[in-house]
Structures are given as C-alpha cells and as structure tokens.
Amino acid sequence: MFKALGRLLIKFFTQLGQASSMVSSCVFWLFKSPLEFSQTMQQTTKIGVESLVVATLTSLFTGMVLALQAGTTMRNILSEPLYIGTLVGFSLVRELGPVLTAFVVAGRAGAAVTAEIGTMQVTEQIDALHTLGTDPIRYLVIPRIIAFMIAIPVLTLCANFSGMFGGFLVSVNSLGVASNVYISDITTYIGVDDLMHGFIKSCFFAFMIGVVCCYKGLWTRGGAEGVGKSTTQAVVTSMVLILVMDYFLTAILNSIGL
C-alpha cells in the first residue's frame, strides 16, 4: 500500500515538475521570440467560435432554471417572486458564468487541443518541429494558452448575458415579474466589482485549461490509445482543477473585497 502511495506521489510531483518546466519555457519564449500571431488568432477564433453556441446555450438554460427555482421558492416564502434578477445575476456573474463556461471550453476546445498536440506527438510532428528550428512550446503551446485566455473571458461575458436573458424570459413569461423590475434588480445590485470577480476567475481558469491541455498533449505516449487517454485525462483534470481553483479564488477575492 505504501509502495502504491509512493508511486502515486512520485507520479504527481513528476507531472507537476514537467508542467512547471513547460510554463517556464513559455515565459522564456515569450521574451525571446516574437509571438506566433497568426497561430494565436487562428486558435482564438477556433476556441471561441467552436464553444460559443454550447457556452451560451448552457448558460441560457441555467439562467432559466435559476429564475424558476428562485421564483418558486420566493413565492412559497414571501408570496411574491422578489429579487429574481439579482439572484440570477449574482449567481451567474460571480460563479456560474465563469465555472460553466470553463467546463464547456475544457470539454469542447480543451479536448481538441490535447488530441491535436497528442496526435502530433505520436506521429513525430513534434520532433519535426524541433528539427525545423522551432520549439513546440513557442509554436503550439503559447498561442493556445493565449487563445484560451482571450476566448474564455469573452465567452464568459456572452454566457452571463445569455443566462440573464434566460432568467428574464422565465421571470417575465412564467413568474409574472415586470421586465423593468427584473432589469433594475440586476443593474441596482450588481456592480463592476462583481464583474471583475467573474473576469479574474475566468482568466485563471483559462490559463489552467491551456496549461493542462497542452501539457497532456505534449506528454502523450503510446499511439492512438495514448491520445485517447491523454484527452480524457486533460478534460477530467481541468474540470477538477476548475472546481478546486474556484473555491480558493472565491476565498481570496472575497477577502480583498471583490
């Protein structure tokens, strides 16, 4: 049992070391060479556009269900569906928007990134990059991490609006809340600091998803089976880390008044 635990710990710290070394290489290449601009733009479009529909749809229905649940509960307690806009807005902007969007992007674009880099690894395309004078970190990893860091905050913003719109539809049509009341519930109580709270979280999530998915891709071994394994591991690891990071980020951001 101790042997197995020891092996697990060694594996964990080895992977942590490899991922840290990859991040330090990213920093090195960021300062040493010009950014692969076209690659970065291409990846941003790919990650952003590919995930836009899923992210907004997920958020739309989450907003709708939040409004429905909050409205029913408020009616039972206070006999009136009060502050639905505030409840939906707060939940989305500070918590569900960034987390759900990160989940969707990790599952959709993160998996694609790991599979693409993993396939390049097992078909020697990564070695070919080395022999042709460029480093895979510079050519593949940096553009993708930056792309995630641009796409996810923008997608989160879209998801927030979509979710609030979903809440609006349910509040006005099913719960009988006046549209101006729903909107003023949002605009009165949700401020810039709430938006910043969600924005900072989404930036951290984006960086983490980029690092995890690229790392898993680069360290793929063992042919097609290896690519499948890496892709699954990348998505699962990203999702678990999103939830873990979310707790700690919330604690830190709340403590500094955001």
């Binding site: 040493k32 078909t123 070695d127 070919a128 080395h130 022999t131």
Partner: protein, 217 residues
C-alpha cells in the same frame, strides 16, 4: 565531419546504445543496418539531439555537440541538419506548400516572397509538381515521404539523416527514393546517414555501411 565516440543511451533499465563508435565522412553516405530495436533510430536522434545521450561524445566538425542545452544553440546546430522521418511527419494542419517552406522561417533569413518559388522548386526536385495546395491527408505514403524530403531540402542542410526512407513503400517507389538519395549526394554533395532494413537499398546508396548489434557497431 561527424565523429561518434563511445555513445551510450538507455531508456530506464533498457540499454539501447552501449558504446557506439562511428565516423561519418563529408559528402559520403553511410548506411546503418541492424535488427528492429537495436537502436538505429535512437542513434540518429542522438546526432540531431532529439534525444540526449547518457554517455560518450558526438563531434560535428570537431565541435562537441553532445551536451548543448541552450535552445538557441540547438536551433543553430539544427540548421546544418535535415531529418527525414519514417512516416514523413508532415504537419496535418498545413498544406503541402506550407510544409515544404516551414523550416525557412525559423532556420534561414529567406524573404517570404521567395517561399512559393522555393516550394515549387523543391517539390519538382523530388518529382512532384502542382501539389502545393493539397493537404498531407490527400497524399499516398510515397508522396508523403517525397514531400518530407522536399521539406528537408528547402533549408539546404549539410547533413541529411534518413530514418528508414523506403519502409512501407512498393519496390518502384523505393527505387525512386533511392535514386533521389544518390542524386542529392552527387549533385549537392550532401552527407547522409541512412537507417534501413532494406539490404538492396543499403548496397545501392551507401559508400560505407555500419551494422548495429547489441548496442555497438
């Protein structure tokens, strides 16, 4: 040109190279033969520093390149080398033309305006014309190898390392690739190291031959 002294490489408990000594002369073609898993590919990957040797020395033009670590120095070293991968290793996301000129951006100062001409010229050299716009997935195995060779030639390396250039090809395509390797030596004076299983091909293209057995030549 290249001297390998007592080269050692192991992967975990498995010792692949156990002290390889080899000299590769300028402008000559050396064929490295040996059974599967004897470390032929490992040897050339150590030469181009895709793998770091565990012991011994590799001298290139009398300069020790065994332990170069800095990224910039490695990139500089790789300017002198070309590597033909067993399966071609063409980039799926790029067209054939973009694949051929890929190394020019990173290894040379060639202006971008020259890229299209060079792609056309190098593809013609390997007997392929008008396929610049195709994707690697649209090519046959032999075509992939030839495009990969055109990509190697685009940067005009002094040394080309061939990893099983004729494996998986039909006899006619193998012959075409062999002729290309001989042509490159005769016309451009390129030094070559060819890893192969194909004895007929080894006799046809090489000036010298080395056999790897139990991790040694």
């Amino acid at each position: 040109m290249i001297e390998i002294i007592d080269l050692k490489k192991h992967f975990g408990p498995k010792h692949i190279l156990r002290g390889v000594n080899l000299k590769i002369e300028e402008g000559k073609t050396l064929a490295v033969i040996g059974g599967s898993g004897t470390g032929k590919s490992t040897l050339i990957k150590c030469i181009i520093r895709l793998l770091e040797p565990d012991g011994g020395k590799i001298l290139f033009n009398n300069k020790d390149i065994t332990h170069i670590k800095k990224q910039m120095e490695l990139a500089k070293l790789r300017r002198s080398f070309g590597y033909l991968f067993q399966e071609g290793a063409l980039f799926d996301s790029l067209s054939v033309g973009e694949n051929v000129v890929f190394g020019l951006k990173y290894l040379t100062d060639t202006p971008k305006s020259e890229y299209a001409r060079i792609a056309k010229e190098k593809l013609a050299l390997v007997g392929l014309k008008g396929i610049e716009h195709l994707r690697p997935s649209e090519l046959s195995g032999g075509m992939k190898k030839r495009v990969s060779l055109a990509r190697v030639l685009a940067t005009e390396p002094k040394v080309i390392l061939y990893d099983e250039p004729t494996s998986g090809l039909d006899p006619i395509m193998s012959e075409i690739i062999n002729e290309l390797i001989i042509d490159l030596k005769n016309k451009l004076g390129v030094t070559s190291v060819v890893i192969t299983h194909d004895m007929k091909s080894a006799f046809e293209i090489s000036d010298n031959m080395a056999m790897l057995y139990e991790g040694k030549v």
